[in-house]
Symmetry: C2
Subunit: 314 residues, 2 copies
């Protein structure tokens, strides 16, 4: 399929890799055409790493690279495309204007998808003549290492467009979460936010350290979640399955609920403690190096999951 | 070290493996001595599986097995022990009476630890002459596959006892979360509960399916959490680290907060939908088989994490 990627920042360039390694043609456009070579340099650096971890779907870096075209002209980028993925800054007016252009210039068959994490599609798609084909495809960055992507409709999005977007994402090896309607935070940020809210509260209330909480996830809760998710985890955690679990253990959670009705300002006094602990564990000038470590660990984890699914079962 | 395990159900027998594979001597006692051979049969079945996955610390199954002794007499079980791990049913009166016996019979040097997940230590330890050595060591079951364990004090627990318990758990290869004071749900169930509460709400409000939420964790959020935890994840998710992240993105979560102030009854109407979806994915008569799959996947994940920590870095 032919795709256009609008905006060549960190998210746009990551989508370019994701689409191209699946065999799709990519036109990469940026309002600031001078930014394009920088995106391409990043892609050229990343592709061999991905190939070394068998994350290019069997293609050589040069084959994937050959599918990515820089395009300075928006109309040319959108010519005959099937999927448009927008990655502009998170400013609603900017997205409104940009989507008017995309809707005007893209062929009728194309789905118009935004990567926004913070703005509901209804806030910048209502005015579009083709609003039935507009929706959000929100990744966890970088999508070539994290398969989950939220497909979120506006109130006007057609089922056809939702189906096309989900199928396209599956064709890229992504795992679409097909939402039934839009909601602030979509799904993953709501789940992440709920957990982080409690994590900041536990630190603010001096119950636990930042590192204790990270240990509790990385050596505890997140192990099973990383291959099953939370519902399958509790389904297997009581003799009679998920209903049995809810009946046995809901009381613990109901007891906790009244004590979690206040927000903690994450950037307020608790941040002194959080930042001091994190800085002691990771000096601030090592963040970039540690991000590279994270990506290598993510690649190795994906390779492990693929092997385990094959050897032990999905 | 010498240890006594009080109660030979699923948690007690799992601790027996965990302590014995670390080289500790284990006396396994049960109020119902007839239950002990059943526990031993489980242990005998599990040890070769663990050995195959290099999860017995280099020991042969027979060597680990030789350290586990069944004991029908409580005083004999407690003779000269350093660590006592209680795993009786979650009934406060029963634990009060049992801990009075343990405190009377165990030598002064011994830490008295409960595996309770639902009862605060203050509720059943206040009356003990040796209450300064009483505390909770709460595992995620089974501890021989999930390293995180919460070490939770009562208001009377000494720093010495907390240090001894944490050191003992580290000697078993566990990752202790050393709590500063007791709180309902301890740490991990509070974090899990916060996420599950939102997960049930998203299903009840018809935003997402059960499977979408599991996909969002297993192909999304939980990948990074499984080797870093949530704080390190956000520390690496903004150019300036965790403070930068909170300042940039807290707004999303603050917006969500007012919409999560109502509880959903997990066992109420939403459960019809949750159970129907889970049953379609996993027939209820396959729960046991799937639990065995889960444990094999957990073992493979632990082996992967150990290798990745060595090859790529911790």
């Amino acid at each position: 399929m032919k795709t256009a990627i609008i905006g060549s920042g960190f998210i746009g360039r990551a989508w370019a890799i994701t689409f191209a390694r699946a065999g799709h043609e990519v036109r990469l456009w940026d309002k600031n055409a001078d930014a394009l070579p920088k995106a391409l340099a990043f892609i050229d650096e990343m592709l061999p790493d991905l190939a070394d971890n068998d994350l290019l779907g069997g293609f050589a870096p040069a084959e994937v690279r050959a599918r990515i075209h820089l395009e300075a002209d928006l109309a040319a980028a959108l010519d005959d495309v099937d999927h448009v993925q927008e990655n502009a800054p998170e400013q609603v007016e900017l997205k409104r204007a940009l989507f008017a252009d995309l809707d005007r210039l893209a062929p009728a068959k194309a789905v118009l998808a935004s990567s926004t994490s913070a703005i509901l599609p209804s806030a910048f798609m209502e005015h579009l003549p083709g609003r039935q084909r507009g929706l959000v495809c929100h990744p966890i960055n970088p999508p070539y290492l994290v398969p989950a992507v939220e497909v979120c409709p506006s109130p006007w999005t057609s089922q056809e467009a939702m189906g096309k977007a989900a199928d396209f994402m599956r064709s890229c090896g992504q795992s679409p979460l097909v939402m039934k309607r839009e909601i602030d935070g979509f799904i993953m940020n709501r789940l992440q936010g709920a957990l982080l809210e409690e994590a900041f509260r536990l630190v603010a209330d001096d119950i636990a350290s930042v590192e204790d909480i990270d240990v509790g996830l990385r050596d505890g809760l997140a192990l099973r979640w990383s291959f099953m998710g939370p519902f399958e985890t509790i389904d297997l955690n009581a003799p009679g399955g998920v209903r049995d679990y809810a009946e046995r253990y809901q009381g613990i959670y109901a007891n906790i609920f009244p004590s979690v009705q206040h927000r903690v300002d994450w950037a307020g006094p608790v941040m002194e403690r959080v930042e001091a602990e994190r800085s002691a564990l990771l000096p601030r000038d090592k963040l970039g190096e540690r991000q590279m470590w994270r990506d290598r660990r993510l690649m190795a984890l994906l390779a492990h999951k693929r092997k385990a699914a094959k050897d032990i079962g999905k």
